[in-house]
């Protein structure tokens, strides 16, 4: 290995310039990789923090400056290609092609293209997709556009009752909007919270004036150029100025079609975040990071899952950067890095009105749920069990009291893994 003697080696290319891409770039540098590094991102913005977009940023105004991640000296020489979309990749030729037709050779590839909001497809008829008043909340530009329409008195329909939907409902209500949440679910955030906590959350939202139309879906989106109303599948009509579409997400994996990678649900990866192809082979020069990564977590079992929690792009980015950095450094370092366990603790948070929700683990895996502490109408902690093992914990308030349960999830699972051997 004497790259200096040959032509300049191709760069490591990271596709996706959000938090996961940034953390991977930082981790590559930390692992000692000093070669060329290119990050290609579809948005024009340098990496920024998304959680405020459905909360404070909607109420206080939002700028890139306010949410941008600080850039560190280690990544000062990264080549950022922003506002550029990658349309295809060839793992054999080791190139990605951008929509402007340019082919970019890579030495190693990191897939960090994330997810996009799924749009509402009404069962009967849909106004134009470009109908003004229709919004999603994923990007900074999305949040800026929505913010302009959340004015006092605006009639807002939120499609979807998950975390984003409930956060937007709370924020819009605080801004003086009249908010109705429409969802096929029986309760808001019932997955992963479970029925008791979900019912309590709904009660608190309703106390603040949020209306819920649950067990319902959207049949018609009305309007010619501007949204005027929503008709539900029971025939009832809601006059509406704004529709916020928060019904879930799809993976940005289209550009990987034809690469042979397993893109059935996100992109399959091993615990070293190496991409796995449809024949089950791990690619030492291709890595997957963030929301799009479907990877196993030995904290729970050997099932590969996508986890759309905020901490995952950082955890998987650091892991991918360390393993790829070791691969670029040589065989011994690579074997050593791959052998290290990778067991990130999923964590999520949400603020809705005065409700602070915090969770660890994967509550969605539970087959039983128990209230562990506190008062349901006030602050409380719920435990989520698979068999006798604690796999998740959710708190309303009681942040410090949650910490021992987080430890229990980590430790109990480690013991179980040891016993299984």
């Amino acid at each position: 290995m004497a790259p200096e003697a040959d032509a300049q080696p191709a760069p490591v290319i990271i596709v996706g310039a959000a938090m996961g891409g940034l953390r991977t770039a930082e981790a590559l540098r930390k692992a000692g990789y000093t070669g060329a590094l290119t990050v290609i991102g579809e948005e024009i913005h340098a990496p920024y923090n998304r959680p405020p977009l459905s909360k404070d940023a909607l109420s206080t105004g939002v700028t890139h400056e306010a949410v941008a991640f600080p850039q560190r000296p280690a990544t000062a020489d990264v080549d950022w290609l922003l506002g550029v979309r990658v349309s295809s990749a060839s793992l054999a030729a080791k190139t990605v092609t951008t929509t402007d037709g340019v082919s970019h050779p890579f030495r190693a590839l990191v897939i960090a293209t994330g997810i996009r909001p799924r749009r509402v497809i009404p069962s009967v008829s849909e106004g134009p997709r470009s109908l003004s008043g229709r919004h999603t909340v994923r990007t900074l530009d999305d949040a800026m556009a929505l913010r302009d329409e959340l004015v006092p008195g605006a009639r807002v329909v939120v499609a979807g009752s998950g975390f984003i939907g409930c956060e937007v409902a709370a924020t819009a209500t605080k801004l003086g909007c009249e908010v109705t949440v429409v969802s096929p679910s029986s309760r808001p955030i019932i997955r992963p919270l479970g029925p008791v906590l979900a019912a309590e959350l709904q009660r608190r939202h309703e106390a603040h004036g949020v209306l819920f139309r649950l067990g319902r879906s959207i049949a018609v989106i009305e309007g010619d150029t501007r949204l005027t109303g929503i008709v539900l599948d029971d025939g009832s009509r809601l006059a509406a100025d704004v529709l916020v579409e928060a019904i879930g997400s799809d993976c940005n994996s289209d550009w990987l079609a034809g690469t042979g990678l397993d893109i059935a649900n996100g992109v399959l990866a091993d615990a070293g975040m190496r991409a796995i192809d449809v024949d089950g082979n791990a690619h030492d020069d291709v890595y997957v990071v963030g929301d799009i990564a479907r990877f196993p977590n030995a904290l729970f079992d050997d099932v590969a899952r996508r986890v759309e929690h905020w901490n995952i792009p950082t955890d998987t980015g650091k892991r991918a950067g360390a393993v790829l950095g070791a691969w670029l450094a040589g065989d011994a370092a690579f074997t050593e890095a791959l052998a290290l366990p990778f067991t990130p603790m999923p964590a999520f948070w949400s603020n809705q009105f005065d409700i602070g929700i915090q969770a660890y683990g994967l509550p969605g895996l539970a087959d039983s749920i128990r209230q562990l502490e506190g008062d349901l109408a006030g602050d409380c902690i719920f435990g989520y069990y698979r068999g006798t093992r604690l796999v998740g914990v959710v708190g309303l308030g009681m942040k410090a009291a949650l910490l021992p349960y987080r430890q229990q999830i980590a430790t109990a699972e480690a013991e179980a893994a040891t016993t299984a051997r």
Binding site: N49, R72, K399, A400, L403
Partner: protein
């Protein structure tokens, strides 16, 4: 020494920093964050990790 500043108007006391740098950050019994404003240089990596995991991005190293 590393000087640390947490914007307490932004901090939501999620306590993620506590796991990354337990000698620097703690949650007190009232669920409020407490931290050391000045720590030894040897803790730089831990403090940077704590900055990374803050969902509110409220922590910074003061230049």
């Amino acid at each position: 020494m590393i000087k640390i500043d947490v914007d307490m108007a932004v901090c939501q006391h999620y306590g993620q920093c506590v796991f990354e740098a337990p000698t620097v950050f703690t949650l007190n019994a009232d669920d409020k964050l407490e931290y050391l404003a000045s720590v030894d240089d040897s803790l730089l990596a831990e403090v940077e990790s704590a900055i990374d995991v803050c969902p509110m991005q409220a922590i910074r190293i003061v230049e």
